[in-house]
């Protein structure tokens, strides 16, 4: 790779005169450069110890790579002097490698001196001043430095302690997670605050009661309390019935004083707690913000190697590319940066390999022989937008179409019928079923599926604009920070669920023998208090899993929200992990017991449970069912229940019939009230489901008829209607209906629940 090929990054950087950015970049460079210098130093020492070319050669290889990497990094920040020293080193190591030069004590000394000079050059920084740029004079003295090791090659200013420290990212991550956990404490405190306010309300009610009762108290005192101190003592034993009213007055007075003291104290505490809570919230928010900021790094940290890579790739392919980067100072969550690096590498490589044409081809097409590529990062609102553009050939639509057909994700006819812009999107799908294999081939468009998936995992989107012959732009939009939560992955009835860890008070193993029955409900003893115990599968309405019985201890998660704590038994707690919550989509805006879904590491989609819902359902569940009537358990009665559906709409009738039949009921239908009434008289039914609005005889009238016919008086009637008005509901109940269900959706769970209770 001849040096003249080098245009890309430098040109790009020059278009970015942002001083702030350069400062950051220089700081990043310094950290990286120190590492390389250190490796070079230790490598040289090893080289000195190694005997024989076999032992030396691998070390020389390493040293060569280190020098080369540092040279590349130096180029990126225009640190010409460092670059030149590195080039000298690289050349020396190259000669050693090729065997055109033998290793001697003198040459080793010279190498050591050069590395030392490099170290001084890099460390000789004053905060804020980009050293590598002002080190020109030391460059000229390089030869002298090599000759005279004592000559200072950098200003004698000793490197002042920089304000950058290196911390293992795992430590930062831990701090962030802990800060995030304060959120649940914050929420719990808000809850406590509400409870205190409730208590204050109760106390205020009592104060009002006393205030209203004061005239009465005064009257009592006037009448009985002035008869002297003696009988006023409540403990005045032996006093006759004469003194009783006076003692009562005294009692009332003391009680009132006590109430006043309590209400004053409660008011004080409420105020103090509110103030504490505000302080805590502020601190917790600030800590979380700062922890987030500590995890925010500029894009430059992952883009540093890009200009060099573009140059190398282009020169290998015999192409001429001008590469520009902008917005590398945009800060983004470190976890996003880590995961977006490879997709970006892929896109840039794609552009060089398959986008930009050979210079001759470009000239033939009337384009400038030098192709141009850019990588632009910009913050747009709360999002980060990355555009990777080139002025090359654009996406190969025919190739993508054919590949998609061959990969089986589209039929030939479907692929052929697609408009170009839609065909480009096929690129995202080439790997839907065979993504692993697609990575092994490299073609324009192929591999986009992986890019797309990686971006989507981060909660971002990818779009492509491609103009055949004129170039392509891939646009990635990412969130600035990840919306993550900690979740416990559990298994129940062979299904997996995520439970937000913030709601998990504890996880425990409970021996089956220690489960008590309290009022026909299972309960366990945790820390001295009794908690209700339910099976997660029961609350979710799922059949119990394979490990439902057996002697093994139960795995129990104690879930809590507000004041409610309930134990949920599951088959297994698989582990705890960070999850990125995603909505269930527009069709499922609110599903009971679910808060969303996430894609776990293995690619499986796992629902995230909604703990407040679960607790509410569990409370109702524990109340509604004894041990002998668990939902999901086989019904004791085997006779199939006979239901009559009365509805004038054939659609609704068929739908209801279908729903009820699949729930195991025998169903007959009637098109309106009068026909329904006739059917009821003709044969026995266990329950009627009737629409309200029907011709001839409506649902209200049908219900009244049923109630007035002695034979049918006990027959359960469920009215199903689109009318949501309260008056209609009341009319329905007045008429004698057992239940009144609004048919706002096809969600039959409610209907089946109601019917299940009535028959």
């Amino acid at each position: 790779m001849p040096e003249t090929e080098w245009r890309a990054g430098r040109a790009g950087m020059k278009t970015q005169p942002d001083a702030d950015f350069l400062k950051k970049l220089t700081a990043t460079f310094q950290v990286e450069a120190r590492e390389h210098v250190q490796s070079l130093g230790t490598g040289l020492l090893e080289l000195e110890k190694a005997s024989g070319p076999e032992a030396q050669l691998p070390i020389v290889e390493t040293l060569f790579r280190e020098a080369h990497s540092l040279k590349g990094a130096a180029r990126a920040v225009n640190a010409g002097e460092v670059e030149r020293l590195c080039h000298t080193l690289e050349a020396s190591f190259g000669e050693l490698k090729a065997g055109t030069r033998a290793l001697s004590a003198e040459s080793l000394d010279g190498l050591h001196r050069t590395v030392a000079a490099l170290g001084k050059l890099i460390d000789g920084d004053e905060p804020g001043a980009p050293v590598p740029f002002r080190a020109a004079e030391t460059a000229a003295t390089m030869a002298a430095a090599a000759a005279d090791p004592d000559a200072p090659t950098a200003p004698p200013v000793q490197a002042s302690a920089t304000d950058t420290v290196r911390i293992a990212s795992s430590k930062l991550d831990a701090i962030f997670v802990e800060a995030e956990e304060l959120l649940s404490v914050k929420l719990a405190q808000a809850e406590r605050g509400l409870e205190l306010r409730e208590l204050s309300g109760l106390v205020a009610d009592r104060d009002r009661f006393w205030a209203e009762s004061m005239p009465l108290v005064r009257a009592l005192r006037q009448q009985f309390g002035d008869s002297g101190d003696e009988p006023a003592r409540a403990d005045g034993g032996g006093a006759g019935t004469q003194g009783l009213p006076a003692r009562l007055v005294a009692l009332v007075d003391r009680e009132r004083e006590h109430a006043e003291a309590v209400s004053t104290r409660v008011a004080e505490l409420t105020r103090a707690t509110a103030s504490d809570r505000r302080t805590f919230e502020t601190l917790a928010n600030r800590l979380l913000e700062d922890a987030k900021k500590a995890l925010m790094l500029p894009f430059a940290t992952i883009l540093a190697g890009f200009p060099k890579m573009v140059r190398d790739l282009a020169s290998d392919a015999g192409k001429d590319v001008a590469f520009e980067m902008s917005g590398a100072d945009t800060d983004v969550d470190k976890r996003i940066l880590e995961k977006i690096r490879d997709p970006l590498l892929h896109l840039v490589r794609n552009s060089v390999d398959h986008g930009i044409e050979q210079p001759a081809e470009r000239t033939r097409l009337g384009k400038p022989p030098r192709g141009s590529m850019s990588l632009a990062v910009a913050q747009v609102g709360g999002k980060v937008e990355i555009r990777v553009s080139d002025d090359g050939a654009g996406f190969d639509l025919a190739g993508i179409r054919a590949a998609a057909v061959q990969a089986g994700v589209a039929t030939a006819s479907a692929a052929g019928a697609l408009k170009d812009q839609e065909a480009v999107r096929l690129a995202f799908r080439s790997g839907v079923t065979t993504s692993r294999k697609v990575t092994t081939v490299s073609g324009r468009g192929l591999g986009m599926a992986i890019v797309n998936e990686n971006v989507a995992k981060l909660g971002g989107t990818v779009s492509i604009e491609s103009t055949p012959g004129a170039g392509a732009t891939v646009r990635i939009v990412l969130p600035v920070s990840l919306a993550t939560l900690r979740g416990s992955l559990v298994r129940a009835a062979n299904r997996e669920f995520i439970i937000p860890t913030a709601h998990v008070a504890r996880v425990m193993r409970v021996a089956r023998s220690s489960v008590n029955k309290v009022e026909n409900r299972d309960s366990i003893c945790v820390d001295g208090s009794t908690l209700a115990l339910v099976r997660l599968t029961d609350v979710l309405g799922l059949p119990p899993g394979p490990s439902g019985g057996g002697p093994a201890p139960l795995t129990v998660l104690v879930l809590e929200h507000g004041q409610v704590r309930i134990g949920f038994s599951v088959d297994q707690v698989i582990g705890e992990q960070e999850v990125l919550a995603k909505p269930l989509g527009p069709l499922l805006p609110r599903v009971r017991n679910l808060a969303g879904a996430t894609v776990v590491g293995t690619g499986r989609v796992v629902p995230i449970l909604n703990v407040p819902d679960l607790l509410q359902a569990a409370v109702g569940f524990a109340r509604a069912t004894g041990p002998e009537s668990r939902p999901g358990a086989p019904a004791e009665e085997t006779r199939v229940k006979n239901l009559l559906v009365v509805d004038d709409s054939i659609t609704a009738r068929t739908l209801l019939q279908n729903i009820l039949e699949s729930a195991g009921y025998e169903v007959k239908t009637a098109p309106e009230g009068a026909a329904g009434y006739a059917a009821l008289l003709a044969e026995p039914f266990d329950l009627v489901v009737a629409d309200v609005e029907m011709p001839r005889m409506d649902g209200f009238e049908l219900t009244r008829r049923i109630r007035s016919e002695p034979k049918l008086a006990e027959l359960p009637v469920v009215l199903v209607t689109a009318r949501e008005a309260k008056e209609d509901r009341e009319r329905g109940i007045d008429a004698g209906a057992n239940a009144y269900i609004i048919k706002s959706s096809f969600d039959q769970t409610n209907l089946l629940e109601v019917i299940g209770k009535l028959v």
Binding site: A402, V405, A410, A415, R429, L446, G585, R592, L594, A597
Partner: protein, 191 residues
């Protein structure tokens, strides 16, 4: 699997050798071109409509292509507890969670058991989006509107609510717009 891999490889080869296309890719492109031109000449005056044809419970259905965002293999569906049974579950397409509706349950059609080549057709319109299960996707074709029977007295079930018409060959042409706009399909379980 190997065939698929070879297929991709061929396609890449076609691309890479730019112009020295393999016979296979030539064939494919020719086929694609033919498919693209296959619409009847009458298509321009609005008398035909482009539909995606798919099979469900031994019947053939068609949906207007403009509502079809994509068709993908249904690799894995995660069932959800407590949802109506026409919601088969959720699946992940390119990192996005998509609800999958089973029309067989909605229409009361028999289920033939799992086929190994299940596919999902993702319907999309103005913020509404969900997938429907298809046992097999036959392809895209132009459906002449003139031949459509708009109502059929014998089709007295739930399907009537979503029906656009029935083609002479018995293909049930469903209205994707009506499916997408039906608020009754939305699961909103307030506690």
């Amino acid at each position: 699997m190997n065939e698929q891999l070879n297929g991709i490889h061929d396609a890449v080869l076609t691309r890479a050798t730019a112009g020295m296309a393999t016979a296979a890719a030539d064939l494919l492109q020719a086929r694609a071109r033919k498919m693209a031109q296959e619409k009847p000449t009458a298509g321009t005056d609005g008398s035909t409509i482009e539909v995606l044809e798919f099979g469900l419970a031994d019947e053939t259905y068609a949906l207007e292509l403009t509502y079809v965002r994509e068709v993908g293999a249904l690799v894995e569906v995660t069932p959800l507890p407590g949802v109506p049974d026409f919601v088969l579950g959720i699946t992940c397409l390119h990192g996005q969670i998509i609800a999958v509706v089973d029309l067989r349950k909605l229409f009361g059609l028999p289920e033939r058991g799992l086929r190994d080549s299940r596919q999902v057709i993702v319907l999309q319109s103005a913020g509404w989006e969900f997938g429907i299960l298809a046992e097999r996707v036959t392809g895209v074709k132009w459906l002449p509107l003139a031949g459509l029977q708009l109502t059929l007295p014998t089709l007295t079930d739930v399907r009537a609510a979503y029906l656009s018409g029935i083609a002479p060959d018995g293909t049930v042409f469903l209205s994707a717009g009506k499916l997408l706009a039906d608020p009754r399909l939305v699961v909103r379980q307030e506690i």
